[in-house]
């Protein structure tokens, strides 16, 4: 059975599953073919242009372009879509027509920062400013008091003094949006002098929140390390983003435990999205891993998701380089 709806990405060439051939032989042609006329990408071929798959497509193509100087025009069109999608308050939203920004603001800023192009400086500054002002609704003094009085604190073991970022405004802190905000704010010098101190404060609180929300034994899930006394089970994708956001503290116990969790679970990973991101995570931490045998069926299913295709391409590249480099086309 198919994993995605009827529309398949066109032209998947079988047998191109080795690490070197994949980005050039599969990724670039497919991403080129499925770019929409407005410059954006959907989650699948002919899908609505959305900010998230557009960000990852740009990221993947840029990583390749850096090596090969390929297809600058496609990337430029993608960047144009991205800048047009920015809302007046500096944020980016998740759906066409949506007028409220969300966690994707961090991702979009991170992608634009990596372009190293002065023309995006204003957009990035506005975006990072929005990120700094976007406080989660949980863990305010008022909410903490209500939680304490109601006894709700006993349900979930977490320190409510720490505050990260939410998926959507006015909700609670979660691991992945916090990790992406931390990645974007690594470049807080772009925010502007008046926001340096608030940005630094938010980074400290955000990092503390990630460490607080680590699952017992290492790794992260969406952000519930324990509910009703039962330990939460870690998942590959949030663990990857948390470890990448916290990579400047490689010697901390939590980083080591979580990396060990990732290494121990690497061979059990089934989904291509998790597999690609786990490879990125281990590569950034300089850990060796054994590539699993390519399975053409798995690949064929996975590349129907544009975003997973981009992650697979990035995994086959040099994660340490594209994670932080500021690239100019």
């Amino acid at each position: 059975m198919d994993i995605e709806p009827a529309e398949d990405l066109p032209g998947f060439p079988t047998g191109l599953t080795s690490d070197h051939s994949f980005p050039k032989g599969v990724c670039t042609p497919l991403l080129r073919d499925v770019q929409n006329s407005d410059g954006g990408w959907g989650f699948r071929s002919e899908g609505q242009s959305r900010v998230e798959p557009t960000c990852w497509s740009i990221k993947a193509l840029t990583a390749l372009a850096h090596a090969d100087n390929a297809d600058e025009r496609i990337i430029r069109r993608g960047l144009d879509f991205l800048t047009r999608a920015q809302l007046a308050d500096g944020s980016w939203s998740a759906a066409p027509g949506e007028k409220t920004g969300c966690w994707l603001t961090s991702l979009a800023c991170w992608v634009l920062i990596a372009m190293g192009d002065e023309k995006y400086a204003k957009a990035v500054a506005a975006g990072l400013r929005w990120v700094c002002d976007d406080w989660p609704r949980d863990s305010t003094w008022w909410r903490r008091s209500i939680r304490k009085l109601s006894g709700a604190g006993r349900y979930a073991k977490q320190n409510d003094l720490y505050r990260g970022w939410a998926w959507t405004p006015g909700t609670s802190s979660w691991v992945e949006p916090t990790a992406f905000a931390l990645l974007a704010l690594e470049n807080q010098d772009l925010v502007g002098g008046d926001l340096n101190a608030p940005a630094e404060k938010r980074r400290r609180l955000g990092e503390a929140l990630l460490y607080d929300r680590m699952c017992p034994g290492g790794g992260w899930n969406c952000g519930n390390p324990e509910v009703y006394g039962v330990p939460g089970e870690a998942l590959v994708i949030p663990t990857t983003w948390a470890l990448l956001a916290l990579r400047h503290h490689p010697d901390r116990r939590e980083n080591k435990e979580s990396l060990a969790w990732m290494e121990n679970n690497f061979t059990k990973i089934r989904g291509q999205a998790s597999y690609a991101l786990a490879r990125i995570c281990l590569a950034v931490y300089d850990r060796q891993y054994e590539m699993r045998a390519a399975n053409a069926d798995d690949d064929r299913d996975s590349v129907r998701s544009v975003q997973v295709l981009a992650w697979m391409s990035l995994a086959a590249g040099n994660p340490r380089q594209w994670l932080t480099a500021r690239t100019s086309l």
């Binding site: 959907g42 998740a94 349900y155 992945e176 089934r270």
Partner: protein, 316 residues
Amino acid sequence: MANCAYESLTTTVRNRALIPSFQRAASNVVIRRAANYEQELEAVIYESLLEFALPVKDKVVLLKPNFVGLDPLGVMNTHPAVIAAACESFLRLGASEVLIGDGPAMDRDTEAILESVRLREFVRSSERKFVDLNTDDVECVPLTTKASRLKELYFPRTVLGADLVVSMPKLKTHHWAGVTLSLKNMFGIVPGSCYGWPKNILHWAGIDNAILDINAAVPPDFAIVDGIVGMEGNGPIQGTPKACGALIFGDDPVAVDATCCRLMGLLPERVKYLAAAGTMLGHVRVDRIQQLGERVEALRTKFRVIREFDSIRDAA
């Protein structure tokens, strides 16, 4: 969330005028005995569907199972054997296409969840497509009921465009809502790509109220509940498997959920969102539900709930 005008009406918006429950005819619910997942389920499901004379000929049917997470032991998700049997049954009834779709709430690697539940082993034909509702194209739908403070939500176009949506939950207790059945299962159509993993905006809106708003905006047309092995205690993920040996069917999801509660030894009138749904979406009262197949008493299996939901237990 912000204003959202319809961008287009290319898909069928399923939002219907709400009819107060007291104006509705009595609902039919069928309970069938099914001891395990190894037995022939297709005949059980096909014959049960015949009781309802569903208008599925040449229609697109969307099966919406409950896939909450990685589940190698098969205890938290709708079992693939039930999904496969439902697929074949709807095709036998003349459906032009049967789609399977869900948007898992806690893990964005939907492919990994599908692998862990072994869906492909059971539903083999490439003509049955799985749609990741988390990343489907979306359209904004106003919420007319306003049970929660949400004014609108984005929903997947696959759901809005399907001719018949079938909610297929597993029979489970839930640590925040009391029970999670065919109404709560509709949380899975809210796309993670818009609202995150988990879809926390629904929690902040109030789970009970969000259930009402979603089911009023996109009402499932039919429900098939996998009660062969359910989950009790700290569900929907960390509870304990509980065998009940039943499949429950109905064209009124509220009546189906109320019947499921009675099967689990729980009082549906005391489940907050079900009690409210019983005034506007369907029937909770036992005298408004026409019971077919097995009697509730014959298969009643008391499910444990966490202490916070002691009040919904039926002491009888």
